[in-house]
Structures are given as C-alpha cells and as structure tokens.
C-alpha cells in the first residue's frame, strides 16, 4: 500500500508526536498550593481509634448510618461510601501488641477527601460539577451540574467520590471539608471533636510546618500537640512515636491539602503509592496540546475538506 498524501500525513504525524511528547511539556500545567488553602493534618500515631470523628461527621452532614453484613446495631461502614464521608480504618498484624508498629502491631488511618492541589475529579468532570474553591482550595460538588457519569470516581487516585447506586435519582457524595461549618466560622466536625488532636484543622502552610516539627521529634520524649485547630492554642501532651520520615500528601500527585503522618508505612495503611506529578497535569497536557484554541483541529479540517473535495471531483 503506497501512501502519497504527504501533506496530510504531516498533520497526522504532528498530532501523533504531540500526543507522544507530553512528558516534555508536563511542567506547564502543574498547579501549586494556594496561599490561603485550608486543610487537615492527620497524625496516625496520636489517633486512638475512638471514631468520634465518624460520629461527628455523620451528625454534621446529616448522613444515615451504614450497615455492613447482617448486623444492624452499629454504624459499621468498611469504606467510604455514599453514606460515609469519613472513616477510621485499622491496620493490624500478628498479635497486635503495640500501636504504630508494623510487625505484631496495629495502626489507624483516617480516610476522606484529600482536597488535592490539582484535583483529578475537578479536571475530569465534564459538567464542572466538582470545583476547587479559588481561595480555600476546598473541592466541592454541585449536584445541579452533575450528569452522573462517574468519571470523577475513575479519575480520583484516592477513590473518594462515591455514588448512590441504589437511588434512582443519584448524586455523587464526598467530603467537602464541612464547608457549611466553615461558612459559619466553625471548623470541620471531625477536627472539632477529635479528643487527641489527631485530626488537626488549619491553613495548609501552618500544617506543613507543624508536620515538619513533628518529624524532628525524638521518639519517646513528650511534646505539646495542638488540638482541634492549629490556631486554637489548645494543647495536649503526647509521647512522640517513631514517625515514617515523609509526610503523605506533601508531594503526592502534586500535593494534597490533607496531610498525613504515621508510624507505619503508608502503603500498609492502604494509601496508594503515587508519583509527585499529578496524572491530571499529564492528561490535561495531552488535551491542551491537541486542542489548544481548537487550532489543530481547524487546520486539520481545512486540509480534510480540500482532500475530500479533490477526491469527489476526480470521481465525477
């Protein structure tokens, strides 16, 4: 098969090359942290697993209880769902003798929306139903825009957005950092109720500093830990544990506004191991390279019209 239409091929080749070359162009669309971003610092080593954050979350957001298995006595979700915006999960191993130890130990982890710096769900949503607040960086959902395509669920690296599968008129449900409470000058319910300061609310810039302070602590010594809100000046004394030397969410997929500290490795806690560059940036890059200002498609269309016209003429 001989192909002579060099001019068209050039166009085709250009788009192919552009599609192939995204890594080289990637840095262009990566986003950086907002200066006034709000977030949560979750410290697994001082979490006692009391689950009051789950109770507080359900109360603050009017969520129904969720039953797993035949028992209908407790609210016992096994994961985030359309009825559960926040969950404490437990890692355990062997005899579970000591907390925050990988072998024969156990540890808690709190899962909810990470409020990414460059959220995949926001980028993915075709109808702009998911948006990131320009000031606080909170990722929230607007059901009036949503078409229910569930691409946000496919896109989210943390599997956070959840869908009401048993509702004929379903919605996407996710943690919105208690925006309704923030609007009233309050703080997210999970942080407000946390007795130990394991969930700490505050500006992300301060939380990063606090996380770095904790990383420098000497294991076994006692230190002051802020409770509820970093600005509240409420303090509790805890014994510092052996922290894993990195802060989860500081760099993962371009950073998240929810940061985590733990005593066991994060993959043991069921958190995905992610690269520093967001997949969102990569996807958007491909998209923007090919469709920027619709120039490439329009040029291609012009070429195509010319070619088709020629063929048609020849046929006649």
């Amino acid at each position: 098969m001989e192909i002579k239409r060099r001019d068209f091929l050039k166009g085709l080749a250009t788009s192919a090359v552009l599609a192939m070359a995204p890594p080289a162009l990637a840095s262009s669309s990566e986003k950086s942290r907002l200066p006034d971003a709000l977030g949560i610092l979750y410290d697994s080593t001082i979490c006692v697993g009391c689950q009051i954050c789950m109770v507080a979350c359900k109360r603050a957001n009017n969520m129904p209880p969720e039953y797993y298995g035949p028992q209908r006595q407790w609210d016992n979700p096994v994961d985030l769902s359309a009825k559960t915006l926040n969950i404490i999960k437990k890692y355990d191993n062997g005899t579970q003798k000591e907390k925050d130890r990988e072998i024969d130990g156990y540890a808690f982890v709190k899962r909810h929306c990470m409020h990414c710096v460059d959220p995949a769900c926001v980028s993915a949503c075709p109808a702009s139903a998911l948006t990131k607040d320009a000031k606080t960086g909170v990722v929230s959902y607007n059901k009036n825009a949503c078409i229910g395509c569930r691409y946000c669920q496919v896109a989210c690296p943390f599997n956070v957005p959840k869908f009401e599968w048993d509702n004929p008129f379903p919605k996407i449900v996710k943690c919105q950092l208690c925006s309704h409470l923030l609007a009233k000058g309050q703080i997210p319910a999970c942080c407000g109720e946390c007795p130990t300061g394991a969930s700490l609310f505050g500006p992300v810039a301060d939380l990063v500093k606090e996380a770095e302070r904790r990383q420098k602590m000497t294991a076994g010594k006692y230190y002051e830990f802020p409770v509820s809100e970093i600005a509240s000046k409420k303090i509790q004394i805890h014994k510092a544990k052996n922290y894993i030397p990195n802060v989860y969410g500081k760099n993962e997929v371009g950073g998240t506004q929810v940061l985590m500290l733990a005593g066991v490795t994060f993959d043991k806690l069921g958190l995905p191991m992610l690269p520093d560059r967001s997949y969102t940036a990569l996807a958007e890059n491909i998209q923007h390279t090919l469709y920027k200002g619709m120039i490439l498609p329009i040029v291609a269309l012009g070429g195509l019209i010319f070619l088709v016209k020629r063929t048609e003429k020849k046929k006649e």
């Binding site: 192919a16 994961d79 993915a124 004929p168 990569l282 088709v308």
Partner: protein, 375 residues
Amino acid sequence: MKTEQPLEGKILTPTFLLCCLIFLISLIFMAKRFIYGLGAVSNMSDGYPWGIWIAFDVVIGTAFGCGGYAVALLVYVFNKGEYHPLVRPAVMTSLFGYSLAGVAVVIDVGRYWQVYNIFLPWYMNPNSVLLEVALCVGAYVAVLWIEFTPTFLEKFGADNAKAFMNKIMFVFIAIGILLPTMHQSSLGTVMVIAGSKLSPLWWTGLLPLLFLISCIFMGYAIVVFESSITGSRYRILDESHLLGKVSGVMAWLIAIYLVIRFADVGIRGHLNLAFKGDLLGNMFLLENLLLLIPMGILFVPANRKKARVMFFCAVSIVLAAALYRLNTYIIGFDPGNGWHYFPAVGEIFVSLGIVSMEIMAFLWFIKRLPIYRRL
C-alpha cells in the same frame, strides 16, 4: 457500473425474532434500572464505577463503528476511489455503533435528566477529556445521519434533494473524518487520568495514539468481517479483491501499532509483568497474540485472496482491539483495597439488548435500503 440496491427478502427471519426477544427482555432490566437505580441491575460499584455499559457499549461499540471512518480515510484522504463500494455499508455500521453507544450512555449516566448540562457553555469544563469525547461523539452521530441521508433520499426517490445533499456532502465527509480522529484518540486519553489505578501494562501517555491506530485497523477489520458475513449470506457483488487490499493495509497498521505498544511497555520497564502468568499478564499476551498472528498471515499475499482466512483474521483483529479496550477500561483497572467486578445478568442483558437492536436495524436496512451492490 452497478449501483447500490436493497437486498429485499423477508424481514421476520428467525434471527430477527431472536433479537427481538432479547431486546424485549433487556427492556425489563432497563425499566428496573430507571426505577430502582443503577445498583439494582448492574454490578458496578464505587470501586468499579464503569462497567460493561461504558467499556463494551460505548468504548468498544464506537470502535466497532469505526468502519466508516477507516474507509473514508482510505477513499478520501489517500485518494483510493476504488474502495468506494465499501463506503455505504461501512457508514451504516458506524451509524448503528455510534447511535447505540449514545443510547447506552443515557442508560449508564446516573443523572440522565440533566445530561444536556454538558452542552451548556456555563457548565462545560474545557479540561475534561470526557467532555471532548461527549461533544465529538454527539456531533459525529449527527454527521453520520447526514452522511447517510442520500441513501434514504434514494429510497424515496427524492433526486433533487439527493443532488443537493451530494453537493454539500464533502464538508460533512471532512468533519466525519476529523471527529473520530479526535474522540477515538481521546477515548484513550480518558484513562490517562486513572494513573496508578490502571496496570502499567496499559497505562501510558501514549494511550491516545494507541487507541487511534487500533480503532483504524479495527475499522478495517469490521469492514472485512461484515462483508464476509453478508457475502456468505446474500448474493451481492463480490468485494473480495477490495477486502484483500484492505487487509494488507491492516497488517501494516498492526505492525506499527505493535512496535509502539511493545516499545512503550518495554521502555517504561514493565514488560516483565506480561510474563508473570497472572490474569493481567495473560490478558496482555492474548490481546497482542490476537494481533500478531493475523498480521503474520496477512503479510502473505496469497492469504489475502482466501475469504475464509481473511474472515478469521478479521475476527481475531476485532477481538484483539476489543480486548485492548476492555483491558484498559476494566480488567487492567484496579482501584485497590479489595474491589472486584464482574457484570451482572441484568447488565449483560442490557448490553445484549442494545446489540440486538443493532442487528435488527442492520437486517432491516440492508433489505429495504440501497446499501450493497447486488449481483
């Protein structure tokens, strides 16, 4: 030169009635889905938010519908007028593939009553790959119907209208080539954002390119496949010499595709995953073997003259391209922490119902509309 004519014959054949029955059963499940929600008929979950309705009906379904695109590319862009007899049947299959993908989307989408939101400028998200796919597919369905109008006009003897349509048709043909190029590649880009959730055997920044190439050779394979079936069943003008040439094009495209595919996985250093002997590794091997074997066969010119060989090769290629899409959207997708998915009976029936609808429409169209060139 012979022109296209209806094949005539009985409409209510056993095949047609069987399809009718399957379609009626699927209606029950569709009703259930709209009354009780998606969870009532499908096994889709928060871990696997997309099941076969997206992976099969939309992604594979529109790839099935790439026959029109692939042949138009050959005829108009590469100026091979001799393939013209293949255009009409190919456009027809595209028409069904895409229209029914649209039906599947409406069934699949959760908040279907406000699906028009994506067409409202203030709701559009230009960063969304899915938005581009949706708009392009929507536009392409319209273009396909326009491209198909001369066939209807011919049937009803509206010659003036047909002449007018033919005059302006070149614009739609051009758009009809551009749009699939855009959205078939974007169907690959859609899964780029899934990132770590997709096995490295499938996840790559080259997804759009691979999807684009594979949709083209799948389009050719579909043309060969469909012509083989109708050629074996109905007395129509023999197109096997054309099909042979098309098969040659396919073999080359597959060769290019496989080089890119293996180079990509190899350079990223994940080729070892293919030989682990687990489900994903075997799927990867199967998917590529189904391409490698027909490619080898079709490179031998003698084989391109044997209708049966070409039919098997076409089937193998169609299966491979479909499996590639299924792997990328479902099998290679793992959200982690214990989720799994297999389609439910109701879910399969809805997909079957849509396919049945397609077959019924196909049978009616070829018997009543001038599609094929009869002997």
